[in-house]
């Protein structure tokens, strides 16, 4: 399909469904059915099998026409992680059931992966799923679940065979968050808000039809999800987008606070952020040509470092105002914006950037081993049954 044909398809769609008069959800469902939701997805699943590079153009056309948004910022886990994994590993029934309401935002998703004893070592998941006829019975505790309190479904990794080595006894499920055995408790963070949750699972029943991939294949499926997580970070292509733009603006608004030392640091970080932007643009061009670049993990390292340094610098630029914090009241945001709220919040929230989605230390191992081909870490727990690992 040429760009021109795609333009015409969008125009035709907007003629049939006037954004001004069509019900929001009806509009989004129709957009999905027309293949104009995520155009790189296959026909029938919200797409047209087009290159991902055409998506921004489609989104722009819809935005310009005043079309309702599916509010992607409220369903990051669903759109960025659950959807591509369901597309890759789901049965036809699962794809038919889950993808449309996921994209329209009618069903928000969360991720039940991390546990108190399975952070960087995710394959150490201890939540148990035991088969009972056509169902699985799940017990365990998950943590760092963003948006659990708004979510209708979760992607879940649980241990189905403790006698296997840790990577082989896991299975991937799609879990209904309205099950009575799901207990969600807010997890308050250093910012005072509770963006994340602890989720306790007690005899939660999941039909076998909501298993994604084969029994014991959970690690492979989870890795597909996590690879999407790393790619989905840092999409923006505009200069001064993200933290650097906020801090640059703070600098411009506070000439009375300028010192040569702060100016030096700001310029260095501005350059780093701009180089990060260019590196991201090059990575996107590679991906558009179908050459997956290994830079994704490396880029997240840079993203975390520059965000932390920039947000720390901003408090110093603010001087006396940097001593204040907007509000320590516990709130539960429906989405997270690293550049939102005030400078104090941004500084504290940025500390998570080098921990969430793979710590910077783990990512350095990933880069060193998978990209540079250096020897792996010693793994004492890899080849023994999971239940025999000391804990």
């Amino acid at each position: 399909m040429t760009l021109e044909e795609l333009h015409r398809k969008v125009t035709d769609f907007l003629t049939s469904y006037d954004p001004a008069t069509t019900d929001r959800v009806d509009f989004l469902r129709a957009r999905f059915d027309a293949g104009l939701a995520w155009v790189s997805y296959p026909e029938g699943y919200g797409g047209l099998g087009l290159p991902q590079a055409l998506q921004p153009e489609v989104d722009r056309l819809f935005a310009e026409a005043g079309a309702p948004s599916n509010r992607p910022e409220t369903n990051g886990i669903g759109l960025g992680m659950a959807a591509p994994t369901i597309l890759s590993y789901g049965t036809t029934k699962q794809k038919d059931r889950f993808l449309r309401p996921l994209w329209t935002g009618e069903e928000i998703w969360c991720q039940l992966f991390s546990e108190p004893g399975a952070g960087s070592d995710l394959a150490n998941v201890a939540t148990r799923a035991v088969r009972d006829g056509d169902e699985w019975v799940v017990n365990g505790q998950k943590v760092w679940t963003s948006g659990a309190h708004n979510a209708r479904f979760a992607i879940l990794v649980a241990r189905t065979d403790p006698d296997q080595p840790k990577h082989f006894g896991l299975t991937y499920f799609l879990c209904d968050m309205t099950d009575p055995g799901v207990d969600i408790r807010p997890l308050r963070q250093i910012t005072a808000e509770a963006e994340f949750n602890e989720v306790f699972l007690t005899d939660v029943r999941i039909p076998d039809s909501q298993r994604l991939g084969a029994v014991g294949e959970g690690w492979k499926v989870a890795n597909a999800t996590l690879n999407n997580e790393r790619v989905s970070i840092g999409r923006s292509a505009e200069r001064e987008s993200g933290m650097v733009g906020v801090v640059a603006q703070t600098w411009r608004e506070h000439p009375e606070q300028h010192t040569p030392e702060l100016h030096d640091r700001l310029l260095k970080l501005w350059v780093e952020a701009e180089v990060f932007r260019i590196t991201g643009a090059r990575l996107r061009q590679k991906l558009a040509q179908g050459q997956p670049g290994p830079e994704g993990s490396a880029m997240k390292l840079t993203f975390a470092r520059t965000s932390q340094q920039l947000s720390g610098l901003e408090l110093e630029i603010l001087g006396e105002d940097g001593l204040r914090y907007s509000d320590w009241t516990m709130v539960r945001p429906d989405h997270v914006d690293f550049t939102g709220r005030d400078a104090g919040y941004r500084y504290l929230r940025a500390k998570g950037n080098s921990i969430e989605g793979g710590t910077s230390e783990i990512l350095r191992n990933v880069v060193a081993e998978r990209v540079l081909g250096l020897p792996g870490e010693h793994r004492v727990d890899k080849d023994i049954p999971w239940k025999e690992i000391p804990r």
């Binding site: 310029l267 501005w270 350095r364 880069v367 060193a368 081909g373």
Partner: protein, 362 residues
């Protein structure tokens, strides 16, 4: 700012890279390059002839109607990446990029001679001169008289492009190298050896009047493309260090398996990839004559200058003792990287130039 600049190599650029790399593998042996520190400079002429005449690289930036290839900064960047990977002691950047760019607006026949590789030129300014910096012009009173120190590419040049004061502004005069006193300088980087030049009543040919913009453009182009040399240099340092740490054993282990070293290399990889992208963006902007050139060049120089030094320093440290020897080529890269950091403006000077362009004033 242009979001659409193509940052990936074209097929033609890939072919050019292979051609240059093959030639350098054959004819730019690190042991021979090290010889320039002991005064054995035969490789300089031989290699430059091979690159400029045999491969025709001297004419990359010259339009076809003036005897060149009508290529762009993108192709020059490909060449410089490879020259950086080998610290090749050739005047490509000084003659085929900077001096050539000065002459693009001149109708002098010299441009064609440079394009053909028949002659080699150098712009007579200190190698540390940044694109917005002071240009020390020579006085012209019945002949040129004065001196300029630390000029790069002059030892390889047979013609000097001399900035000359005149009532109408800056002029460029072409002076035969034999009409100037060119004193070689013992340089930190002998693979790009500097010279102090003195004119004692020399007469040259006026090749460009009102030349300040052309000189600044040439220096800016040089600075933007120097970033590719620096990225290539850093890439070599990373690859060589990774390769060594995969075979070096201590404590009964491959030392590249120690996490303290893996993490340093992962960080270096991340920065080298970034440098490569920044250099490519500058080259692409220069090739397109994009409005973003001043920002792109300042960003690339600010980033790549420091990164190349870091890469060379990490290469020395992570090689351990062997990295500190004359025998191992790592020192060639450290000396080139440190010299390149100062060349055409330090990173700090480029950031100072950047500040008003992005509305971040002191």
């Amino acid at each position: 700012m242009s979001g659409d600049l193509d940052l990936l190599p074209t097929e033609v650029e890939e072919d050019l890279r292979t051609t240059v790399r093959d030639l350098l593998t054959d004819r730019c042996d690190p042991t021979v390059v090290t010889g320039v520190y002991d005064g054995e400079r035969a490789i300089v002429d031989d290699l430059w002839k091979a690159l400029s005449v045999e491969l025709g690289l001297a004419g990359l930036l010259v339009p076809e109607e003036r005897g060149g290839h009508g290529a762009s900064a993108r192709e020059a960047a490909v060449v410089l990446r490879e020259l950086g990977r080998t610290t090749a002691p050739v005047p490509f950047l000084t003659s085929a990029v900077i001096a050539t760019t000065v002459l693009l607006d001149s109708d002098a026949e010299l441009l064609t001679e440079l394009a053909e590789g028949a002659r080699t030129a150098a712009l007579v300014v200190p190698w540390s001169t940044d694109p917005d910096g002071a240009i020390c012009a020579i006085r012209n009173q019945g002949g040129l008289s004065g001196s300029v120190t630390s000029v790069a590419g002059a030892l390889e040049a047979d013609v000097l492009l001399v900035p000359v004061e005149s009532a109408g502004g800056l002029e460029i005069h072409a002076v035969a190298a034999t009409d100037a006193v060119i004193a070689p300088v013992v340089s930190l980087d002998m693979t790009r050896q500097l010279a102090d030049i003195t004119f004692e009543g020399a007469t040259g040919t006026l090749v460009l009047a009102d030349a300040e913009a052309a000189v600044r453009n040439a220096l800016r182009t040089g600075a933007g493309l120097l970033a590719s040399e620096q990225a290539g240099l850093a890439q070599w340092c990373l690859e060589e260090t990774v390769a060594y740490l995969k075979v070096r054993r201590q404590f009964g282990r491959i030392v590249g398996g120690f996490q303290a070293l893996k993490h340093r290399l992962a960080d270096l990889y991340s920065s080298v990839e970034s440098a490569s992208a920044a250099a490519q963006y500058a080259a692409a902007a220069l090739a397109e004559g994009d409005a973003d050139i001043p920002v792109a060049v300042a960003v690339a120089q600010s980033y790549c200058s420091d990164l190349a030094v870091l890469a060379a320093e990490e290469a020395i440290q992570l090689h351990g003792g062997i990295g500190m020897t004359w025998e191992h080529p790592a020192h060639l890269y450290l000396k080139r990287a440190k010299s390149d950091q100062i060349a055409l403006g330090t990173p700090g000077i480029h950031r100072a130039a950047l500040a008003p362009l992005i509305d971040l004033t002191p």
